[in-house]
């Protein structure tokens, strides 16, 4: 295999990234960032990381782009945006960044021998659990505590966003996501795509046990479908005081914690599973997590409440 396609891909990524930083208009910068995300998901394929490629395609290409474009639609540009720092600053920063790039490149070019790897440890876990996807094994068994804490971070981020609600709107619904101009095509898309998208999202979660895919990817796809429905104005974002919504947000972490604590008496410690039930427990935890991730990501994009509760 020749390296030429990889070199071309790297060149495209770097060009798009430079353009993203250099371009004047901020909405153009967001489009550039979406393009970088799409290219990166191909790079992840070439790095043999299909799980990551799926995540990057769903989040980098879809959710972050929507979040940033929505920010562009709501943030009034300030006149200070045209003020640029002194040219000496550019040169100095450029030099400094080049030094950092060169240092990282040196580390990359001179790799440690033999390469550091934790793959054998992960493989040892895999045999006990009866799951086929090594990345899922790492996420939910070998390094389960990290995944649990990451879910807590997601919940905290959502609480952080919600605390930014103005006093008088507390408990109300986030600002509408509807498009500038109502469109039949968009409404059709929002009616046809979600059923297919939900099937694909559930498939990714279910399939994640043995093949690439999993809770994050499936959850993001579900969130994207929900956001699409909101953008087509078929549904408004829910009020943040709703108990069902709040329950769904904490469902995943709570189920994960319960499974973790159950490990104390049905297995040998926190977040350890008895071998006979490991797979069903992990699948249940994954399903709950995917649902919570979908709701949290959707509400993160929707933002804090912007109108009084009805």
């Amino acid at each position: 295999m020749t390296l030429l396609p990889d070199l071309a891909l790297v060149l495209l990524i770097l060009t798009a990234a430079v353009w993203t930083v250099a371009v004047r208009d901020r909405r153009d910068a967001v489009i550039g960032f979406i393009v970088v995300g799409l290219l990166l998901s191909l790079a992840w394929v070439r790095l043999n990381a299909v799980d990551v490629a799926l995540t990057e395609a769903a989040i980098g290409g879809g959710a972050t782009g929507l979040l940033l474009l929505r920010a562009c639609a709501r943030l009034v540009p300030r006149p200070a945006e045209s003020v640029l720092p002194h040219p000496a600053m550019w040169i100095l920063t450029g030099l400094l960044c080049s030094v950092i790039a060169a240092g990282l490149a040196a580390i990359v070019v001179m790799p440690v021998e033999p390469p550091a790897t934790l793959a054998p440890e992960a493989a040892a876990n895999m045999g006990e659990l009866g799951l086929g996807n090594p990345v899922t094994v790492v996420l939910l068994a070998y390094r389960a505590l990290d995944t649990l804490l990451e879910k807590v971070v997601l919940v905290l981020a959502l609480i952080g966003v919600w605390t930014l609600t103005p006093e008088q709107f507390w408990g109300g619904a986030p600002a509408s996501l509807r498009a500038q101009q109502s469109s039949g095509a968009l409404r059709l898309l929002a009616q046809v795509l979600p059923p297919v998208g939900v099937v694909i999202g559930v498939y990714l979660v279910w399939n994640g046990a043995d093949h690439p895919g999993g809770t994050f990817q499936g959850g993001t796809v579900l969130a994207a479908m929900w956001l699409l429905v909101m953008m087509a104005d078929l549904r408004e974002p829910p009020e943040i005081r709703l108990h069902t919504l709040r329950l769904l947000v904490i469902l995943g972490p709570v189920v994960f914690l319960v499974a973790g604590f159950a490990g104390f008496w049905i297995a040998n410690g926190f977040l350890s599973y008895p071998p006979a039930f490991a797979k069903p427990i992990i699948v249940i935890v994954e399903a709950a997590l995917a649902l919570s991730i979908a709701v949290i990501l959707g509400m993160l994009v929707a933002g804090p409440a912007a109108r009084a509760p009805r």
Partner: protein
């Protein structure tokens, strides 16, 4: 001999530098957020390079860095969402040093 992983490692170094440059030099917060995300992507690719090199025990790539990157991408998204929400709130309250936005920047349904 340069391998596939090395090529993407160089790409990652470039991404980190480009993101850092934008993060330092852009005067507007939203552009800083975008640049920061580029910087993050570069870091993730570095992990991916380590994963690809660490392929052992029958795997094409070490699953541990991959799992960390997946976690990282989701956390990066959450922090971006929080940053955007902070920017919008800053605009609503007009608390920035340059007050150019009218204070009633609220949703249509507010009245």
């Amino acid at each position: 001999m340069i391998g596939t992983a090395t090529v993407y490692g160089l790409c990652a170094s470039g991404l980190v530098a480009i993101g850092l440059y934008g993060l330092v030099l852009h005067p507007t917060p939203l552009r800083k957020v975008i640049a920061f995300n580029l910087l993050g992507s570069g870091t993730f690719v570095l992990f991916g390079v380590a994963a690809r090199r660490g392929g052992a025990a029958g795997f094409l790539a070490d699953p541990v860095p991959q799992a960390m990157v997946i976690t990282g991408i989701v956390v990066a998204f959450a922090s971006t969402a929080l940053a955007v929400a902070l920017l919008l709130r800053l605009q609503e309250t007009g608390a920035s040093s340059i007050e150019t936005t009218p204070p009633e920047q609220q949703d249509n349904g507010a009245s």
